[in-house]
């Protein structure tokens, strides 16, 4: 059985990977902050603060990298996705129906898993000091970006003339 190639699912996985990095950086910061003072005779607030500072920086860096990588994959897969939209337009599907089909075909499920994992982590240990809102917010933002991107591609396709994004279509 051949694999189903869903270009935006790959984007979704890239985003999910970076949200996971954010989550991991926060978790690791928590564990370091918890464990280091146990090995030090004197609780060192400066060290803990420094760890948390580094964790936040790592989280932001992962989020930014996720955006850059995700956006790059979105651009790379643009033609492939646009061709699908063109098929929907040429066969007479309404805009809303075409967009819905795209959203259903290019699942954002991996982002939902990560957001769910972050929420569960936060609930399991409320004393963690884990800022679950950040990874959840990031996952939601990435999902929003995907939806906006698909809406943009659908709008472009439905407002143009010709086929394949070229007026007059292919030569011939």
């Amino acid at each position: 059985m051949a694999r189903r190639h869903r270009p935006l699912r790959a984007v979704s996985l890239v985003f999910a990977g970076f949200v996971t990095l954010v989550l991991l950086s926060q978790l690791s910061a928590h564990f370091f902050a918890e464990s280091i003072p146990n090995h030090l005779l004197v609780k060192n607030e400066a060290v803990i603060s420094s760890i948390q500072q580094t964790s936040t920086e790592l989280a932001f860096a992962a989020a930014a990298l996720g955006l850059v990588f995700g956006a790059a994959v979105l651009l790379i897969t643009r033609q492939k996705v646009a061709a699908d939209v063109e098929v929907y337009r040429a066969t007479g599907l309404p805009f809303s129906s075409a967009l819905l089909r795209l959203l259903r075909s290019h699942s954002v499920a991996p982002l939902a898993w990560v957001a769910g994992a972050a929420a569960v982590t936060a609930l399991v240990d409320v004393d963690f000091g884990l800022d679950a809102l950040f990874p959840i917010g990031l996952a939601v933002s990435f999902a929003g970006l995907l939806v906006v991107w698909l809406a943009f591609l659908t709008t472009v396709s439905f407002s143009q003339k010709g086929f394949e994004g070229r007026s007059g279509g292919r030569a011939g």
């Binding site: 189903r4 098929v87 030569a171």
Partner: protein, 240 residues
């Protein structure tokens, strides 16, 4: 949305399509006039760049004339509103693209289903129609296959099934045999001819494959966007 018996299925009346850039204006079609009778199978022949695809895009209401009118099944495409245009593309014409344009992550069944998505039919009726269409093109055993699992001929046949499943009175096929060897191309042509003969569909084919011409009722010769000759039955160039 049906074709009145007295009306030609496809009418191009002085259709010009010009593309303008900063440097120049190019006419992809130049005062093209012809009409195809209902139930006819007509080929538009010409070298690459002669305007065949532009002509088909016009007939499919995917593009519109700069001047002149295109009338398909009695409907002037440039006069259609947004919803009428969607209904036209969905119900009046079935399009078969040269490059197949099957959606890669969907099975043959799912690809053929696309034109039926907006239809108010029960899922049982949709399934029946899809399976019939797929069987008509000889892919009954490939219903669950992905496009990547099909040969070139099978891909084209799946694309033909998608073009026919909606029961549109007009089928537009852009180089339907362009990527196929003679045997496979002939099989695809058989399907289109059968559709025309047995179901009274009007079929307009853009092609540069001269081997197909003995299978069609009429031929429109196109060069540099202009009709140079029209021959055969069921197609006329005067009085469009």
């Amino acid at each position: 949305m049906t074709t009145p018996a007295t009306e030609a299925a496809i009418v191009f009346d002085s259709v010009t399509k010009a593309y303008s850039s900063k440097a120049e204006s190019v006419k992809a079609l130049d005062a093209v006039t012809f009409r195809v009778e209902r139930g006819g199978i007509v080929a538009v022949v010409g070298p690459s760049g002669s305007g065949k695809t532009t002509l088909l895009n016009m007939a499919a209401a995917l593009d519109f004339p700069t001047q002149g009118t295109v009338k398909v099944a009695g409907l002037v495409t440039s006069a259609l509103g947004k919803e009428e245009l969607q209904r036209f593309r969905n119900e009046t014409v079935g399009v078969v693209f040269q490059q197949f344009f099957l959606i890669s992550h969907m099975t043959v069944f799912q690809n053929v289903m696309i034109p039926l998505i907006p239809r108010q039919l029960s899922s049982g009726e949709k399934t029946k129609r899809i399976l019939e269409s797929i069987a008509d093109v000889g892919l009954a055993d490939k219903v669950s296959r992905l496009p990547s699992e099909l040969s070139g001929g099978e891909l084209q046949r799946a694309a033909v099934a998608r073009g026919m499943v909606g029961g549109a009175p007009v089928i537009l096929a852009d180089e339907p045999t362009g990527n196929l060897d003679h045997k496979r191309g002939s099989e695809v042509m058989d399907i289109l001819v059968e559709e025309s003969r047995e179901r009274s569909k009007t079929v307009l084919i853009a092609t540069h494959d001269l081997r197909l011409l003995d299978r069609v009722d009429g031929i429109v010769y196109l060069e540099d966007g202009k009709i140079t000759k029209v021959e055969g039955r069921r197609v006329q160039t005067d009085g469009a």
